[in-house]
């Protein structure tokens, strides 16, 4: 199902470099800067009106943001968009203007993974408190967090 | 068993006679008055102990569980334990609370409750003060609690209490109007405000048979007056934590609890006096009849509390002003008409006429309601 979508996308955006990744759940990898165009096209033209999940993954060489899109009318089969961002300055355009449901999910990915979303209405931490330093889900972050005085005595 | 009937009255005469032997007359009267006051206050404390226990057992039974049954035999001493704990609790006055108002409010809530007890006719001749403006006195005193609860809401400088206080003002004032109007129907039939004469007026037929609609309106607005069951917005636990008594702890909270439960019992007692014929009853002594009827109505109060959800504040107002007040006015008008038409023709035509009148009012309400619903549905379809 996502094969034909990929074909139509390539016709629509000849100059962008789209890639089709095989695997249990086939995905389409998109560059960060033309993600917004592709997403708007998918939403308006191809009827992908439901954004199910926004996930951030911390690979050794890059950050990756994965979007799972579904169309409620046509039916099953997620369309998966994978966008990679650089390790030092992870920045991905925000899709809140297309799907308002992505608001909290993007804030959570920013809060736990540290990937900024350009154009997000109020990009703040959602699960941890404001003054917290560090993004816990990165591989270099220890699971116990940084020890503070209250923490050491008790454990 | 005539002896049992007015046991307490004979007792008071005997004490008065005993005192009059070696005290001047005025001193004996003074002591008698103090004695009745003390007896009323003791009666109030015993009632609250019994009601609190009864309420928790009955609501427990509604929910398929036992109420407190481990404290005394069947949990009787539950409120004694609560009282001991509450009196020995630390008394907190929040730092930024308005100290004077905060501490004054619980006292001001309890005082009117005890004042109303003076006028209730517990049995034949067993009334502390037989005022001839009995019902007016009750209405006047019960509106004092509004100010007291507003003081509590404002004094504790807490947003939730403030909301609770505002709600109490809106609710109690707008529910006094239908309460008084529906009670007027009864007073019109007896011709006097004094509760004792109202009860005597019902010796042949209780007023509930004459004015079932009047009773319904009175009952609904009385529940709202006491912040109970579907109208307990001022201390809505699920919305504004504990409403006006959020900041109160220990003894002060015990006062609020005392006032709340005794107010509920008094409202049930007044409803029994006005509409079910207070202590009128065939064989049992009068005071037993009074308590039977009062606790029957109190059971309905508990029943509503265990079942019904709460109204929203604007629906509450709408119910009072758009539904209860007009209905009470119509009921007053029709009852006045019926009373004058069957002036001297004895009992049977009066009962017949009032039942027919009530039937007509109810039919009118149903027709208007159905018409309004159809009209609303058309508007919705059109929109």
């Amino acid at each position: 199902m996502s094969r034909e979508v990929y074909e139509r996308l390539v016709e629509e955006f000849p100059e962008t470099s789209l890639e089709y990744l095989e695997g249990k759940d086939p995905a389409i990898s998109v560059k960060a800067d033309d993600l917004f165009e592709v997403a708007r096209h998918l939403k308006e033209k191809q009827g992908y009106d439901y954004l199910s999940a926004v996930t951030g993954v911390d690979y050794p060489d890059r950050f990756e943001v994965i979007y799972h899109l579904y169309s409620m009318k046509e039916g099953p089969g997620p369309l998966i968009l994978k966008v990679s961002a650089s390790k030092e300055e992870p920045e991905v355009p925000s899709l809140v203007s297309l799907w308002p449901g992505a608001n909290f999910q993007e804030r959570e990915v920013y809060d736990l993974m540290g990937i900024r979303f350009a154009g997000h209405p109020d990009l703040k931490r959602i699960l941890l408190w404001e003054g917290y330093e560090g993004h816990p889900l990165r591989k270099d972050f220890p699971i116990e967090g940084y020890q503070t005085i209250g923490q050491e005595e008790s454990s | 068993m005539p002896f049992l009937n007015d046991l307490f009255v004979n007792l008071s005469y005997w004490i008065h006679g005993f005192l009059a032997r070696f005290l001047p007359l005025w001193a004996a009267d003074l002591i008698m008055m103090l004695l009745t006051i003390a007896c009323l206050i003791v009666f109030a404390l015993i009632t609250i102990m019994f009601i609190n226990w009864l309420e928790r057992k009955v609501i427990g039974r509604f929910q398929d569980r036992y109420g407190p049954n481990r404290v005394g035999p069947l949990g009787i001493l539950q409120f004694v334990a609560d009282a001991i704990k509450m009196f020995t609790k630390e008394d907190i006055t929040p730092a930024n609370a308005d100290r004077v108002i905060f501490n004054l409010a619980p006292v001001m809530v309890v005082v009117p409750t005890f004042l109303i007890l003076a006028v209730l006719p517990f049995g034949r001749g067993m009334v502390a003060a037989d005022l001839n403006i009995g019902f007016l006195y009750i209405v006047a005193i019960s509106s004092l609690t509004t100010i007291a609860i507003l003081l509590a809401g404002w004094g504790s400088r807490n947003k939730y209490s403030l909301l609770g206080g505002m709600r109490v003002v809106a609710q109690m004032i707008s529910y006094e109007v239908p309460m008084v109007l529906s009670a007027l129907g009864v007073i019109m039939l007896t011709g006097s405000l004094s509760l004792v004469s109202i009860v005597e007026g019902q010796s042949r037929v209780p007023f509930i048979l004459l004015q079932p609609l009047g009773f319904l309106i009175y009952f609904i607005s009385a529940i709202a007056e006491v912040n109970r069951a579907p109208f307990d917005l001022p201390e809505a636990e699920s919305e504004i934590i504990a409403g006006y008594h959020t900041e109160y702890s220990g003894m002060k909270y015990a006062m609020f609890l005392l006032a709340e439960y005794i107010n509920a019992f008094i409202v049930a007692a007044i409803a029994a006096t006005l509409f079910l014929g207070g202590w009128q009853g065939p064989s049992l002594p009068p005071y037993v009849w009074f308590f039977l009827k009062a606790y029957a109505i109190y059971f309905v109060l508990m029943w509503l509390r265990g079942t019904l959800p709460r109204l929203r504040i604007d629906q509450l107002m709408g119910l009072a002003w758009k539904f209860l007040v007009p209905l009470a006015l119509v009921n007053l008008l029709v009852m006045g008409l019926v009373a004058t038409l069957t002036q001297g023709k004895g009992l049977f035509p009066l009962v017949l006429a009032s039942l027919v009148a009530n039937g007509l009012i109810v039919a009118a309400v149903v027709i208007i309601y159905a018409f309004a619903m159809r009209r609303r549905r058309q508007v919705e379809v059109a929109a």
Binding site: P136, Q147, G150, S154 | R56, E90, I241
Partner: protein, 192 residues
């Protein structure tokens, strides 16, 4: 005051004290009002303990008061995260004296399954004096009831003479931790 008189006087005084103690503790034991405050899964087992099958209203604890002012037992039922710890300690401070804390469930006792992670406090006894520990994840409602019975026995063992809350100089106010950049910091040794 010879020896015998002193002893006799002590005995007489004790008799008075013990009777007062007995009534005082009986009153407090049989009307412990828990605070309607739940954190996580253990809170749901607490609601089940209040529900019809294991009804703890039988012990006189029916009035689950939502405000800390009218509660005397703080049941810490669930995981105390670092973001929630200041609120829990402030609630404890707002409760009027003779107050008790019952740590319900592995998370409240020692952080449980989420022990040693960046956002969970390793047990509420880092910040609050805990009276009874009820282990389990979540403990069965009956285990919670057994915890209550243990708490009642403990209350019965207390006397007015040695109770800390009537002393003037005993400060039972727990310091409220502050959310620092790395985790919770007690106001005392805030090293930022």
């Amino acid at each position: 005051m010879t020896e015998e008189e002193h002893i006799a006087e002590q005995i007489r005084r004790n008799i008075i004290i013990t009777t007062i103690d007995k009534i005082y503790n009986w009153g407090r034991r049989s009307s412990v009002w828990p605070m309607g405050f739940g954190l996580a899964c253990c809170a749901f087992e607490m609601i089940c303990a209040a529900a019809s099958r294991f009804d703890f209203a039988r012990f006189g604890m029916e009035m689950m008061r939502p405000t800390p002012r009218q509660a005397d037992l703080l049941i810490v039922s669930g995981t105390v995260t670092k973001k929630m710890a200041p609120q829990v300690v402030r609630l404890y401070d707002q409760m009027p004296e003779p107050k008790y804390v019952l740590a319900m469930g592995a998370c409240a006792i020692s952080g449980g399954p989420f022990k040693d992670t960046y956002n969970v406090v390793n047990g509420i006894d880092t910040y609050l004096p805990v009276d009874v520990y009820v282990p389990g994840c979540p403990p069965r409602p009956e285990a919670l009831l057994e915890g209550f019975i243990k708490l009642h026995q403990m209350i019965e063992g207390q006397t007015i003479l040695t109770s800390p809350w009537y002393r003037k100089e005993v400060e039972r106010e727990m310091p409220v931790p502050i959310l620092g950049p790395r985790g919770l910091v007690l106001p005392g040794e805030g090293h930022e």
